[in-house]
């Protein structure tokens, strides 16, 4: 096991990249701590899988270095890196039994039979497939196959990290929860470094201690689920995390105030000075509440009842604006107005969050 460091890493699939557009993965520096549970979150095609394949050695980066501990493995082949990877679609060797499948990586590494038998038995118990060991892998259900894929990864004791590439895509919803909590349990038990690629925020937030959000080939934020929710560093994180995502309003920032296009004023609770560029303010739907007077006028278009709360789809200053209404709060009558929870407003310039000045954040 080792810490995994990505240094100045970038990758382009075209042999002669000219502009930044040609890079599937833009330059990044990243450290994965040993034993961490990470999620790599982003929309499809944002470079998540490329990054994963670079770590496992299936893809060689066009530039930069990869270190496992202090060892440079940029040019090391996959087998040498001792990485386990579970793919989106379960990969099992159809003609082998479950037992042979689990033993395969050890057998290829020339381990002796007694050791293999001991490891396979242990892993089978761990993934709950002891009774199926003698069955052919062909014809098993998708989740059983995916468990075998996982087991094949974990059967080696010395794996540096286990990588998951959207492993639950083909799994039934009710099995997803079970498998995910099993993964979580395995992580606690063995504390392998785990990197879990997904485009599903629930999956990412429930699995990981740290979530790495990627957008358009770039890592836009690394943080705990709470940080991603409370202080999205990039407007994409705001959109992507949360359901519905963060509300954004064009605004001119002057000192402690944000000036909306319609002339409305929002108090920011901190002095940002004067900001140049396309500035916006962002507020989570959970941090908006209805106000009797004062606040900003909205036009409600639709109410969605999702069970434990309702979502008000409305319009504010010409923009879509969502509000989460806790249970029991009555719908507003005519001319509804909203107010924002102080201190929960984020300010963005060109999609990046501007941290509020420290001295005033305490206030």
């Amino acid at each position: 096991m080792a810490r995994i460091t990505l240094q100045d890493l970038a990758h382009s699939y075209s042999p002669h990249p000219r502009s930044e557009e040609d890079y599937a993965l833009k330059k990044l520096d990243l450290v994965w701590q040993d034993g961490g549970a990470y999620a790599l979150l982003g929309a499809s095609g944002c470079g998540k899988t490329t990054l994963l394949n670079i770590i496992s050695g299936l893809v060689r980066p066009s530039q930069g270095r990869i270190l496992f501990g202090d060892r440079d493995v940029t040019d090391a082949p996959t087998a040498e890196r001792n990485i386990a990877q579970v793919f989106q679609f379960p990969v099992v060797y159809d003609t082998m039994t479950v037992r042979e499948n689990l033993a395969f990586p050890l057998r290829n590494r020339g381990r002796d039979a007694a050791y293999i038998a001991e490891r396979v038995a242990r892993i089978a118990r761990m993934i709950g497939m002891e009774e199926m060991l003698s069955r052919k892998a062909q014809g098993l259900t998708a989740d059983a196959k995916q468990k075998i894929s996982l087991g094949r990864g974990m059967v080696r004791e010395d794996v540096n990290a286990i990588l998951f590439d959207e492993p639950l895509t083909v799994i039934d919803p009710h099995m997803k929860w079970e498998l995910r909590s099993q993964l979580k349990q395995l992580h606690r038990q063995f504390s392998h470094t785990m990197i879990y690629v997904t485009h599903d925020q629930t999956e990412a937030l429930t699995f990981a201690d740290k979530v790495v959000v990627m957008h358009d080939g770039r890592v836009v934020q690394i943080g705990t689920p709470e940080e991603l929710f409370e202080r999205p560093a990039h407007s994409f994180v705001g959109y992507f995390i949360g359901s519905p995502g963060m509300n954004f309003l064009d605004a001119k920032i002057i000192g402690q105030r944000a000036l909306l296009p319609g002339g409305e004023v929002v108090e920011l609770g901190a002095d940002y000075g004067v900001l140049a560029g396309g500035s916006r303010i962002g507020i989570r739907p959970e941090h908006v509440h209805l106000a009797a007077e004062g606040g900003l006028p909205i036009a409600i278009r639709r109410v969605e009842d999702v069970g434990r709360h309702r979502i008000l789809r409305s319009e504010l200053a010409g923009r879509d604006f969502n509000i989460v209404l806790p249970e029991g709060v009555p719908l507003p009558a005519a001319a509804p107005r909203v107010a924002f929870v102080p201190g929960k407003i984020s300010v963005y310039v060109d999609d990046w969050r501007i941290a509020p000045p420290l001295s005033e954040r305490a206030a």
Binding site: L58, F87, F104, P105, G153
Partner: protein, 292 residues
Amino acid sequence: MMQKVQNNKAWFLVLPVLLLVAFSAVIPLMTVVNYAFNDTFGNNQFFWAGLEWFDEMIHSERLHGALGRQVLFSAIVLAIEVPLGIFVALNMPKKGFWASLVLVVMALPLLIPFNVVGTIWQIFGRQDIGLLGHTLASLGIDYNYTNDPIDAWITVVAMDVWHWTSLVALLCYAGLQSIPQAYYQAAKIDQASRWAVFRYIELPKMKGVLLIAVLLRFMDSFMIYTEPFVVTGGGPGNSTTFLSIDLVKMAVGQFDLGPAAAFSLMYFLVILLVSWVFYTVMTNFDKTEAGQ
């Protein structure tokens, strides 16, 4: 359950197909059956012969010889073409310009009419003007497919391999292309050897197309006529006289219609039987594997 509606008029819709099959298969076959059980001296006069022709054919030394050569030929051809086809498919480029080019080149032999293939090899092997024959002769190798039975066999087998390996290769190639990339990646992570990748990933995924390839190649090689007939005419002596060639000699050359008809029927049944056994065994094998 829903009440099933019986509509007997629907049978009329099957009629065109029945007619077509009758004229294309059943009636010609029955003519052969007719000849097989009768003796005829022309003038459309038939005398009942019972199983006499079948009896004669089953005990015919000549037929046994042809059958032996036929089985040997099919076995050799399958033993070369299937592994070679797999090997070629494994080494074909997977995508890009070269993949398209190789596909076209590979398909070419399949598009050449059978007797043209025979003519090509007939000339190719000649000692006086043929590229192969002349080259071998100038190297001091005594190669003459019209005199030497071994040389004749080598020529006929080489021709069939040249003509049909593409088919096996193209079918296997299609099977290989359907394997998701993740399998190869997983194998790399599991540190599988090249052989293990072939044995546990590629071969299992190719099994379906291989079954078809072997079946097609067996049937075709067992019925082969045109190419060896053009190259060797069944000679030297009877050394390359396969079942079809012998059958034509008997039916058209000697005009022994009765024995030839009996021969045809048995020939047909043998191919049918072997193909059926082969297919059943392979599919059953598949089922037990999936079931367990």
